[in-house]
């Protein structure tokens, strides 16, 4: 853009960047690759289950696939894809030039990636983890299965990345809002990201503790989970679900946020019941923490505990219902444009309700004795995760794509994608409710013929082919649009939207806002369109803009963590290539050396001179 800083290679630029927009795009790419990988595993699993007694996959391979499918989808696909939007959008929506800690932001991305790669490395050392994404002990203590060591350390590492990113979002949202952007004027996506970050803060810490216990038991032979030595196997389940239940809300709340952005934009109405939406988000988050034991109704924790957790769980339906009706009544009376983003966002509402109602059914503890660990549960949580989170991600992708990549995705291909995906989704998962009730447990690699399970399994598998075709259409769309898509360069606000990110020029300059905007209302851009001249009023004169320097240290620290984890796993290998402690030492040196360098070296960043900012403004035809 300008000559005031030294030009470096493109690759180096992306490796060292601390720009939240570039990191958002990197999260998007990494998350998409993991999403495709885990999706492919799902297709293989469904092919195995297309008919009874099939031998396409062995029981062992199937178990590795279910484990990796779940783990990758939750930790390495859904989380980073949401982080992609959070990274790109939050600073823009609150009128900030960057996140609070740009270096930490980059570090978070690279640590997440190194954890994900560490987990994936398991395929080269005897196969992936095979104890399910929940890794219940004692099954996950199988010493012959190195995959579980990769699970423990891969998640531990990537969890650190998630945790520090969440802290960064919290500080950013509290501290970096533009003048006038009060908490009760925050866009709903920022609100839900804020609450989600709080959830991550309180949920990923118990996960880290649990994984540490499991690591100590697996690698250093502690006895926390060995009943013969006074341990207790149920402890793991409590710790896991104290993290694991909020995790669902960690993913679904930002998805709610995306829906709450897209629906008002394309209905041309403000969000119905904004205040109720904010408080419903907080109540859902709070209750989400209180109900972990509903995953353990059949563990035998007693009728009193089961009753309490059952009732607390059902209560979540109330704030969620408030949200559903608020979305419906945002659309009610609106003038709705059904483009691809809106198709996904609006179809989210009834689809999510189907997942929600089975959630209430599952919460009835004594009836859950039937549903638990069956395909009914599989159907339920895919209605929540695919029908909720994934639909929202697609809505967000089509909605924010022009801002992120300076061109739109093709609408025709988008609608084909939507139709194929929707048919495939319902076909795959709706019949699974019945499979569960008809006696099919979850996580089975095969089933016997003649038990009445054949037809629905066949239908379910065919559904996945539709979903696969849909995803292929999406990939084609992305490639096609990159070449021939409608350019929006110079078009700041292609959707006629309401929030601040659409007030920035396209492409977004590295400093986001030449002048920090003055926010006068909820939906600030819309307010200016109706009450002002359609552009944001600046809250400051044009001046030098202070920006952080890029750094390669996040990459170095992450590589170090990878080798630290890998070295610990090598302790368990029978014939490691070299002494594990050498690898641990090397990893430690890179990690802590990188941290020390960062601490000792004062980096004050640089300034974009006023003249450059003025020239940019002039090019965009503005400058007040």
């Amino acid at each position: 853009m300008a000559s005031y800083k030294k030009e470096k290679g493109v690759v180096w630029d992306w490796l060292t960047t601390v720009d939240h927009k570039k990191l958002g795009i990197m999260y998007l790419i990494a998350g998409t690759l993991f999403f495709l990988k885990a999706g492919l595993m799902a297709v293989f699993m469904r092919i195995q289950l297309i008919m009874p007694d099939n031998t396409f996959l062995s029981g062992q391979t199937f178990n590795e696939f279910i484990t990796m499918h779940g783990t990758i989808m939750l930790f390495l696909a859904a989380t980073p894809l949401l982080f992609a939007f959070m990274n790109f959008v939050i600073p823009l929506q609150i009128g900030a030039r960057d996140v609070a800690f740009p270096f930490v932001n980059a570090l978070g991305f690279w640590i997440f990636l190194s954890g994900g790669l560490l987990l994936s490395t398991s395929w080269f050392f005897g196969g992936g983890p095979d104890a399910g994404w929940t890794a219940y002990v004692p099954l996950s203590l199988n010493e012959n299965q190195l995959g579980l060591d990769f699970y423990v350390l891969g998640l531990q590492v990537s969890g650190i990345g998630t945790l520090i990113s969440a802290i960064n979002f919290l500080v950013t949202i509290i501290n970096m809002r533009a003048p006038g952007m009060t908490m009760m004027r925050l866009p709903l996506f920022v609100w839900t990201s804020f609450v989600t970050s709080t959830l991550i803060l309180f949920a990923f810490t118990p996960l880290a503790a649990g994984l540490a216990l499991l690591m100590l038991e697996r690698i250093f032979d502690a006895q926390f989970f060995n009943p013969a030595a006074g341990g207790n196997v149920v402890i793991w389940q409590h710790i896991f679900w104290i993290f694991g239940h909020p995790e669902v809300y960690i993913l679904v709340l930002p998805a709610f946020g995306i829906i709450s952005e897209v629906i008002p934009a394309f209905s041309r109405k403000r969000l119905f019941g904004y205040t109720a939406m904010v408080f419903a988000t907080m109540i859902i988050a709070f209750l989400g923490f209180m109900v972990w034991a509903h995953h353990m109704f059949t563990v035998g924790i007693g009728p009193v505990a089961n009753s309490i957790f059952a009732i607390a769980t059902m209560t979540i339906a109330v704030p969620t219902g408030i949200k559903i009706f608020n979305w419906l009544f945002t659309m009610w009376g609106g003038k709705i444009t059904f483009n691809t983003a809106m198709l996904f966002a609006s179809s989210f509402v009834p689809t999510f309700v189907l997942g929600g109602v089975t959630g209430v059914m599952l919460a009835m503890a004594p009836v859950d004795y039937l549903y638990h660990d069956t395909y009914f549960v599989v159907a339920h949580f895919h209605y929540i995760i695919v029908g909720g989170i994934v639909l929202a991600l697609f809505a967000g992708l089509f909605y924010w794509y022009p801002k992120m990549f300076n061109h739109k995705l093709n609408e025709k291909l988008g609608v084909i994608f939507f139709i194929l995906f929707t048919i495939g989704f319902h076909m795959t998962f709706f019949v699974q409710h019945f499979l569960g009730l008809m006696g099919m447990p979850r996580r089975v690699y095969t089933y016997l013929g003649g038990q009445g399970l054949d037809e629905f399994n066949m239908i379910s598998t065919i559904g996945t082919f539709f979903m696969s075709a849909a995803v292929i259409v999406l990939v084609i769309n992305i490639v096609y649009s990159a070449i021939k898509g409608e350019r929006v360069i110079g078009v700041n606000d292609p959707w006629d939207a309401r929030t601040l990110e659409w007030a920035t020029p396209t492409p977004v300059p590295e400093y986001n806002f030449a002048q920090t905007p003055q926010v006068r209302s909820l939906d600030p851009l819309f307010y200016e369109k109706v009450h002002g001249d359609g552009t944001m009023k600046p809250a400051e004169p044009v001046d030098d803009i202070h920006m952080p320097n890029g750094s390669i240290l996040p990459v170095v620290i992450s590589i170090g963590l990878y080798f630290l984890g890998f070295g610990l796993i090598m302790l368990e290998m029978e014939n490691p290539m070299l002494s594990p402690w050498i690898v641990v030492a090397l990893g430690g040196l890179l990690t802590f050396g990188g941290m020390a360098l960062r601490s000792l070296n004062d980096d004050h960043g640089y300034h974009i001179p006023k003249s450059v900012v003025k020239a940019d403004l002039k090019k965009q035809g503005g400058g007040k």
Binding site: N63, I66, Y136, P227, A310, M438, Y445
Partner: protein, 344 residues
């Protein structure tokens, strides 16, 4: 655009298919309950389903009206009225769900207490009390009368039977869908549940908690008999001595001895519970839980190379047993009958 939304009718159409009678296999499916507990669960599932269907229909109805009625026309740039909310409406859709949930709270709490039983034989002296142990990948059933049965558990019909649930290696979960809910078998913890089969019959059971590569093959049967038949069965099972069982097929018994099968498989009170007890093996409907009992070739293959048929199980392979010996062995195993041909 409306055409693109026709797919939303698919679930409704599918529902009609199910209601027309496609409920799954008898004696497996929970949609055709065969016992008191299963019936209670089914009834309450239907209650919750009706309430939830009501909620879904309301949402879908509003949604369809919106989709049809509030689409933006080409060139219509007029701004719709900007409403911030409506307190009365918001209170309505808070209060109604609360009422609906209260209706569900009541059976939730009563049912939770109704189904709870303690794992303590002294508290259940009036009912049949069977100790169930989950192993990778088979089930062990210890009766109060002192004998052990493997894979197939016999119970009297028409009365509540209490199962104490334990696990030997990893967590399993004891589930007989047609008879009731499941409870986990957890190492180091004793759980319990009661089940009742209203009529005599054979009910399919499954392990519901992931327990390793062959989790999917960890099936078992619950065989409910009239009380008299059950008593007779118990008496015979208690009385079997190993000597009784070798009479018919002595050559096969020798093969059994030579290969040290008794080290893992108890017969008539002898041997250990490392593997399923074989006392009434000849009465089985399936062997290894899932394979056709009458298939000699499969049974021979199982004894020679069990790994190929149930990945990760703990039975050592016996490739050295010759064809003749194998035939004798199978004859011996099939002769291990308590109820003989009178069953079904």
């Amino acid at each position: 655009m409306f055409k693109n939304h026709m797919w939303r009718l698919t679930p409704v159409l599918l529902m009609l298919v199910f209601l027309s009678g496609c409920l799954g296999e008898e004696n497996l499916t929970a949609l055709d309950p065969k016992g008191e507990a299963a019936q209670w669960i089914y009834d309450n599932m239907i209650i919750s389903l009706i309430i939830m269907a009501f909620v879904s229909i309301v949402v879908f109805a509003i949604f369809f009206i919106i989709v049809i009625k509030f689409r933006r026309k080409e060139g219509d740039d007029e701004l719709p009225k900007q409403v911030h909310g409506n307190t009365a409406m918001e209170i309505t859709w808070t209060v109604i769900p609360v009422i609906l949930l209260i209706i569900l709270f009541i059976p939730t709490v009563t049912g939770t207490f109704e189904f709870h039983v303690d794992a303590d034989p002294a508290e259940h002296e009036d009912s049949v009390y069977i100790n169930v142990t989950g192993h990778q990948y088979w089930w062990q059933f210890d009766y109060e009368e002192g004998f052990t049965a493997g894979q197939e558990v016999y119970i009297p019909a028409g009365e509540r039977v209490v199962f104490e649930l334990n696990a030997e290696d990893v967590i399993h979960s004891f589930w007989v869908p047609a008879l009731g809910g499941k409870v986990d078998n957890i190492p180091g913890i004793s759980n319990a549940l009661w089940l009742q089969a209203d009529e005599p019959g054979v009910f399919l059971g499954k392990c519901a908690e992931l327990c390793g590569p062959s989790h999917a093959l960890m099936d078992f049967k619950v065989i409910a008999l009239e009380r008299d038949d059950y008593d007779a069965w118990v008496e015979e099972m208690s009385a079997v001595e190993t000597e009784d069982t070798m009479a018919d097929a002595e050559a096969g018994y020798e093969v059994f001895q030579e290969n040290a099968c008794i080290n893992c498989h108890a017969v008539g009170g002898q041997g250990t519970a490392m593997g399923p007890a074989l006392t009434n093996f000849g009465d089985r409907q399936k062997f290894a839980g899932v394979y056709d009992f009458d298939d000699d070739e499969a049974l021979a293959n199982w004894i020679r190379d069990p790994q190929s048929m149930k990945q990760g199980n703990n039975m050592p392979d016996h490739p050295e047993i010759g064809d003749e010996d194998m035939a004798d062995l199978i004859e011996y195993l099939r002769s291990l009958q308590i109820r003989g041909a009178d069953q079904d």
